[in-house]
Symmetry: C2
Subunit: 474 residues, 2 copies
């Protein structure tokens, strides 16, 4: 239990795994690439789901559920889509004791089966927009799995909407990207750059893909959510048509967008430190842990009375760790590794002095507070911690986002973080940069910051079509 | 839209499908046996999930998530288990473009992969009880699918707990059966008989299986939830041991319990009528639908003002159907088929008279109520409807539960409903009865009602070991 974590400095990748193990979030299963999400890790996912689901519903979407198993032939109907996903498919060839006439793929994503369904559901413009979301598990065969970040099976939500016009679809795509940004920044305290993906990085079958990109503490990017304008490629492949107000039959405009358990990986690598997990209060399954301290039953009684009183004043996610077979020191250590934002220590002498001790997880700051004002102070502190974590993450991100003079400087800076440059828009330059530095175009950011006059591609020197954010990534 | 539903009298099975279609709950997909749960059907599942999840957590369980794909060899470790599930398995033989060394089965239930995990998680008696639940999709190959009742893929929760003693495990099994009974009766207004399954009907690998059995309006039984005492069969097969307080290594005692989307089928067949779905207020995704009526914008304004005022007074699940391209009559019909407990009609003359019209879905009773007391009346009515639906379902169930004098009478009565008889406990008699009548032992009910002196098996006449409830079933 006292075992130290690998430090970030020593080995960031190992530190990440150590944090997960120490906080008891998840582990690998016997099946290659598949993850077991342990109760504390799943509680984090439940919190993310709760926050995101309410926002998805508030923007007019309804949840539904579509089948896990998809006929192989469905995948083949949209050519870019099948090309993108073929190498990752898990295929059911036998069922009910017999070989199947047609193999079924375990969904890697559900565009095909959902749009096949939409071709039956949509008849007229009155059926549009059709705004549906699904919470589901998906399988993409993974050769180099990493907990939360790349797993053969993962949990996610996938929104699938159909619209009468291209403009409506585009508006939807940006709206949902905005919802993801809000979730990341306001709830997870994880600042993100939003923008469009380059053609190379686009979703297989999409016309345009938008993304939010967060920066991890090692300067690498994490794609935390994507939103796709699918144009009419899928609606033509699956014959999803509607009769418009003008009486004409038209193909619908489709969008899809998703956020997955990968978000938890981003959360971990944004805030945690060498002592373990650090959680922003808004997402923490347990916001405050109370550790009562006593030596005998008399002390226990008076301490627990004070604890109950504090609890009754707080409408937050609070846990009391009253296990009697573990020492307070052991508990402090355990909850520190679990990243609970505030620890409350309360012993018999505290009760006598009508006070308690608060310890912030993010700064280790200790303060002694009168019982009479403890509830108010705790609520304030939770807000402060949320703000401070967001600020710290943003500072780190901004300090490690660079503008550079030339390609040599680019190569140097991209080892540390994100680099903003002009890029000619050609895949050839993208490939060269990747070969040289392992960095890819994370997005063409909405928020442009380079001075237009500098518009020359960092790689080839031609007129730079777009401002791009390059980084190495997870 | 005006198409009449098949009546229950005409053809109960077709009526069931008509109700589902008319309420827009679900449909079959292109994949044999797989169901698409449409938004309104999924909203029902979300309500059930919400009610059940909070009860599962309140009884000390935590949610987690285990892999979908299970190595085939895991299934084979418990011999009864593999025998029971083998015919229903869907098998992944290829993934990532290659043939797998070992095939993976798509989970039909997760005992094997979870207990394999528990063998790593559990070390000492301090780790017990281990109380875990999982919400997941499972696949069991289905040759004669029926929406919600029997589908190749279905959604469920599966609880899996480990205990230090047999008594603790047995207590857990009965506690969770009690939670299921409460969900069925208090929330779904669906009365159930609880009891133990016969050996023939036991879960594959269980020592004892307990069940709640509801009666559908055609007199058939629906198994609505099961809870299994797994003894030590699985803990021996997967080597799940702990060091007890006495220092000895012992195998844990395991339980599992589950409720699935099948519950929705039971809900439909308990309350619905020849006009469509009927929903108890506590489970209805929409408890009240308001249909404002107007001819012009002036009328619309005054009507909508009254609607907004009503809405602000009610903290319930209320929907306002203000679509302007459908007539009020069309809307009445549509919401009737969707089973919304109360319909509110509000037109310009109502506003003038400061009143509105309430219509109960279950009885079609109409009443005119002053706006000033409408909110209070609606809340009262929702409570009344919940109670009345439960009462009606219970009366129907009780009237169709019979005690009989002899086997001839048994054969006749079991066509109509449940029959309580003594049974010798032999599988031979169970088989004979099934062959003669299609009826099976639904359970050995906890609540015994037969007079002990009558204790002779209804089939063979030998001393009847147990009181049993026989019925045909879904």
């Amino acid at each position: 239990m006292k075992k130290q974590l690998t430090t970030r400095q020593e080995n960031f990748a190992q530190w990440y795994l150590d944090v997960i193990a120490a906080a008891d979030l998840a582990e690998h299963s016997g099946v290659k690439g598949s993850m077991i999400i342990k109760p504390y890790g799943f509680a984090l996912w439940e919190r993310i789901k709760e926050e995101l689901d309410s926002r998805i519903k508030a923007t007019g979407h309804k949840n539904a559920y579509f089948p896990l198993l998809i006929p192989e032939s469905f995948l083949k109907r949209e050519k870019d889509h099948v090309q993108g996903f073929s190498p990752e498919l898990a295929v059911v060839t036998h069922a009910g004791g017999q070989k199947l006439d047609e193999p079924l793929v375990v969904r890697p994503t559900s565009e095909t089966i959902i749009y096949d369904t939409y071709s039956r559901w949509i008849e007229s413009y009155r059926d549009l927009p059709l705004l549906i979301n699904q919470w589901a598990n998906v399988v993409r065969w993974e050769l180099r799995p990493r907990l939360f970040l790349r797993t053969t099976e993962f949990l996610w939500q996938e929104g699938h909407t159909a619209h009468a016009t291209e403009e409506d679809a585009q508006q939807e795509v940006l709206k949902m990207l905005g919802v993801y940004k809000e979730l990341a920044e306001d709830i997870l305290a994880m600042p993100v750059y939003d923008g469009e993906k380059s053609e190379t990085e686009r979703f297989a079958g999409a016309k345009r893909t938008y993304t939010i990109e967060a920066m991890m503490q090692d300067g690498k990017a994490l794609q935390a959510g994507t939103s796709h304008n699918l144009g009419q490629g899928f609606s033509k492949a699956f014959d999803v048509q509607f009769t418009d107000a003008d009486g004409e039959r038209k193909h619908v405009w489709l969008t899809s967008w998703g956020v997955s358990t990968r978000m938890i990986g981003g959360l971990i690598m944004t805030h945690s430190d060498d002592s373990g997990l650090v959680l922003p209060p808004k997402i923490a399954p347990t916001q405050v842990v109370v550790i009562p301290i006593w030596k005998d039953d008399t002390e226990k009684e008076s301490v627990m009375k004070a604890v109950e009183q504090l609890k009754s004043q707080l409408d937050i996610r609070l846990e009391v760790d009253d296990r009697d077979f573990q020492s307070p020191g052991y508990k402090f250590n355990e909850w520190e590794k679990k990243g609970v934002p505030i620890r409350v220590e309360l012993g018999p002498r505290d009760v006598q002095s009508q006070q308690l001790v608060l310890v912030r997880r993010d700064t280790s700051e200790k303060e002694t507070v009168k019982l009479s004002v403890a509830a108010t102070r705790i609520k304030q502190l939770l807000e402060d911690i949320q703000i401070d974590l967001a600020k710290k993450a943003k500072e780190n991100r901004d300090q490690n986002t660079f503008m550079v003079e030339n390609y040599d400087e680019f190569k140097q800076k991209v080892e540390q973080g994100f680099v903003r440059v002009f890029w000619c828009g050609e895949a050839k330059c993208e490939e060269r940069i990747k070969a040289d530095t392992k960095a890819t175009v994370r997005c063409l950011p909405f928020d442009k910051q380079l001075i237009q006059e500098d518009g020359r591609c960092i790689s080839c020197g031609k007129q730079g079509k777009s401002e791009a954010l390059f980084a190495r990534s997870y």
